[in-house]
């Protein structure tokens, strides 16, 4: 009996032990921990926003996104600037693909999961719509980063599951370029419709941010439809690269209408009546009515290194400086400088002799305020110091004028005759005729070794003029980056206007609208206004865009979508401005010439589309590589 009782007890316990322990592990965060509260949603959003493919102070052609090393930034690829490290042009390919699809998956997951938790928010549709809208904006932003690089890419609009789906189902093929742009428009339209006018927090999206994205993306699509010639079809006839030309106008129209949505809600920054100071401040003032979407930084949590990398050599923190030198080609685009008939900077008189200046800044006395706020001229003021840029001291005769030091089009070095120069920042002072001493080169260049400006100019835009010298270090910059500002929307609008006008569309007075947009920008910039809409050409608008959005990582994409890069940058050598001090005259002159290191840049037409990373082609054999790679 006892044995049976023990057996019975044992059997009961064994039976009870057959109950499965069906409780999820307590050390893993589950959906409900995130989705059931505002804090959880905010944390999810923070992750997605931090992964947005924003090309700011931390995006470069060799390191991609979120890397402090801004040296090979794409402003040195577009002809706006040069630096010591960029001696040959590449396709700027950063292999951005896997990270894009990771972010897209996170957005997809959010969109399909949030509705299940509606009750936690009292079914407040406005709140839920705002969040879903943000996820759609993030998804659209990411697809735009993909399509402008690769053309047609696979559109994944819901979460994929493995091993739930077979490998064959997971290996997707590329959608057409047009389908991707249409998908971006669809996400933007939904975000515009369902989001609020204001963001939940600073740095997050809202209805107008989505409209700004649509304005930009649709303009790109229109340019591709109109100017692209590269075509690629896959085996099923899907049009992977290229958009039919007859779609150009509908994309330009969509861009124009998206730009219109922002009118009245944003305006150009005009807080300071001094247009030079105003233009400098517009990049720092957090209350600017021009800011639509901003990426914020904050020391010491999230930082970049813009100041330390770009500062003039005489203000260097330990190590870096001078990595973004605006070209003379860029400077010559602006108003307020003496120009020759061919548009180049006038540095010589009618007899071909150098014009003499008592101070270097005299040449730039009437420079357009926007230019003054974008670049630092030789002899200009920055952070309380005069930025001393001088190529050398000319010791030759000055009677009758100084003749050109080199022939036109010359790319070689200066001859040593009548010139005293310094090869590095360790200089031997030269004794001038009046007995005073002067270093041959300026404190910030131009030398022949080390870091210094290769063009005579330094960058001023976005440089923090209040930064202390002790703080001029890597990872010590935290000025914000404006992703979308209203000036860009006006430029998008003017360009779409002009393209529609040129194509004979008359439902709106597009030419007048373009004229108004360009003059608004020029007025704020302190530039000469257009007198008449008929002065406008597509080039007027494109050059205005290059001037206004300079050094904002934009021009490289513009010259690519206009399909002009391969003509503009073909065995191209950039122009520079060398200031010289004429010892026997006690004054300065400037030699405008081709760059001294004979660095040539050629844009290969293959590069209008980037190569899909090889590893992705291996994982998914249905993906076809872009042509030429």
């Amino acid at each position: 009996m006892k044995i049976i009782k023990y057996l019975f007890i044992v059997c009961i316990s064994l039976l009870s032990a057959c109950n499965k322990l069906n409780v999820p592990p307590l050390n893993i965060i589950k959906d409900q921990d995130i989705f059931n509260s505002v804090n959880g949603i905010t944390a999810y959003m923070a992750r997605m926003y931090s992964q947005l493919p924003i090309e700011d102070f931390k995006y470069s052609a060799d390191h991609g996104f979120n890397n402090w090393n801004y040296i090979k930034n794409i402003n040195t690829y577009s002809g706006e600037g040069v630096n010591k490290n960029v001696t040959v042009l590449t396709n700027g390919n950063t292999g951005y693909w896997a990270d894009a699809y990771t972010l897209i998956r996170e957005a997809n997951y959010f969109i399909q999961t949030l509705p299940k938790y509606s009750a936690d928010y009292n079914n407040n549709q406005t709140q839920l719509n705002q969040w879903i809208g943000e996820a759609r904006f993030i998804r659209a932003f990411t697809y735009f980063a993909l399509v402008k690089r690769y053309g047609g890419v696979p559109i994944i609009d819901s979460v994929q599951y493995y091993p739930g789906e077979s490998l064959n189902e997971l290996q997707v093929s590329r959608n057409s370029e047009e389908e991707v742009y249409d998908y971006i428009a669809q996400d933007c339209d939904s975000a515009i419709k369902y989001m609020n006018a204001t963001s939940e927090q600073k740095g997050r999206a809202n209805k107008y941010v989505a409209a700004a994205l649509k304005s930009t993306a649709m303009l790109f699509a229109g340019s591709i439809a109109k100017y692209n010639q590269i075509q690629l079809f896959d085996n099923s006839g899907k049009h992977l690269l290229g958009i039919p030309a007859n779609k150009a106008d509908s994309f330009f129209k969509a861009s124009y209408e998206a730009s219109l949505l922002l009118e009245g809600h944003y305006s150009l920054y005009r807080a300071n009546p001094d247009k030079y100071q105003n233009y400098e401040n517009l990049f720092f003032d957090d209350n600017s009515p021009e800011n639509i979407f901003v990426k914020y930084y904050h020391y010491p949590d999230v930082v970049h290194s813009y100041d330390a990398l770009e500062v003039p050599f005489q203000q260097t923190g330990p190590g870096y400086s001078s990595y973004l030198n605006p070209t003379l080609n860029f400077v010559e685009l602006f108003d307020g400088l003496p120009k020759n008939a061919d548009g180049t900077l006038k540095t010589k008189d009618a007899n071909g002799k150098y014009i003499l200046y008592q101070h270097r800044m005299d040449l730039f006395a009437n420079a357009e305020p926007r230019l003054r706020a974008t670049v630092i001229f030789p002899g200009d003021e920055f952070r309380g110091q005069q930025i001393d840029v001088r190529r050398g001291i000319y010791t030759g005769p000055v009677a009758g004028g100084i003749s050109s030091l080199i022939p036109d089009g010359y790319t070689g070095p200066y001859s040593a005759a009548n010139l005293v120069t310094s090869s590095s920042s360790k200089q031997t002072p030269y004794t001038l005729p009046d007995g005073t001493k002067m270093n041959p080169a300026g404190l910030s260049g131009v030398f022949t070794s080390g870091v210094y400006t290769r063009t005579g100019f330094y960058i001023r835009k976005y440089m923090d003029s209040t930064k202390t010298q002790a703080d001029m270090l890597l990872h010590h910059s935290d000025q914000h980056w404006i992703v979308f500002r209203y000036a860009e929307i006006l430029l998008n609008r003017a360009e779409a206007d002009y393209e529609l006008y040129a194509d004979g569309q008359t439902d709106v007075n597009y030419l007048q609208d373009a004229f108004n947009c360009i003059n608004d920008i020029r007025d704020r910039a302190g530039a000469t206004l257009l007198a008449d809409p008929n002065e406008l050409t597509i080039d007027t608008i494109r050059i205005e865009r290059k001037k206004e959005l300079a050094f904002e990582n934009d021009t490289w994409w513009d010259i690519k979508r206009w399909r002009v890069a391969d003509q503009e940058i073909n065995n191209k050598i950039y122009r520079i401005l060398n200031p010289f001090y004429a010892a026997n005259a006690g004054e300065y002159f400037f030699d405008a010439r081709l760059e001294e290191n004979n660095a040539r840049f050629t844009f290969n037409p293959i590069w209008y589309y980037e190569p899909i990373p090889g590893g992705e082609l291996t994982k998914d054999p249905k993906l076809i590589q872009n042509p030429g790679y």
């Binding site: 010639q229 079809f233 006839g237 899907k238 790319t411 065995n571 004979n598 590589q625």
Partner: protein
Amino acid sequence: MFTANSCFKTDDYGAPSETLTGSIIDSVTGLPIQTEQGNGIRIRLDELSWSSNPVPQYFWVMQNGNFNDTKLFTGYYRITPVDGPFVPLIQQDSNGDTIVNNSRMMEINGVTKVNFMVEPFLNVQWVGEPVVNADSTVTVNFKFTRGTTNPDWQFNVTDVYLFVSEVPYVGNSNFDSRYSTQVTYSGTAGNALLGQTITINTKVMPGSRNYYIRVGARTADNVQKRYNYTDVKMVAIP
């Protein structure tokens, strides 16, 4: 233990050793087409033995228009020269349907010889011999004409370039920018010069040594904007 042994197999499949060789023939001259070494013309191979949609392989054609790859596996391939300054051998219309297909489908086995005939965008020829001047520049005369009669592939002539190099592999991928001279044409200005004799000078070239020179001309084509070339000539600067 037995299964563990069968998990390891030595890859002793034979190394590829079949040869594909031949020339890309310029339909105007009847000779192998002049191209450049690096960024010139590629041969695209699609091995159709196992799949109708394989990952393509590429290898470069030589500067003189000949090609020779001795490291291929036996198989059935589609072979197409691509990227060069000639009318593409495979063309699709705006719906993606293939309207022209001059690629070759064939077995590669042993030494396989095949030529392709292509229509170059331009034909560029020397006129007379280069002249070395007393000031150590070189003057050349040349002319360019349309290489294809198909108006869809007659684009505006964009520029001509007299390339100079100290090695025979001279062209747009390799030239000395100190001595080479480019003349660009905007819009349709270049087309007016088709068939005319054009004169270009190099810049001053230091002696005494030999240089290799070549003239390239190109159009605003929608392939890869590569140059059509003359052959290479050597000049001696005393």
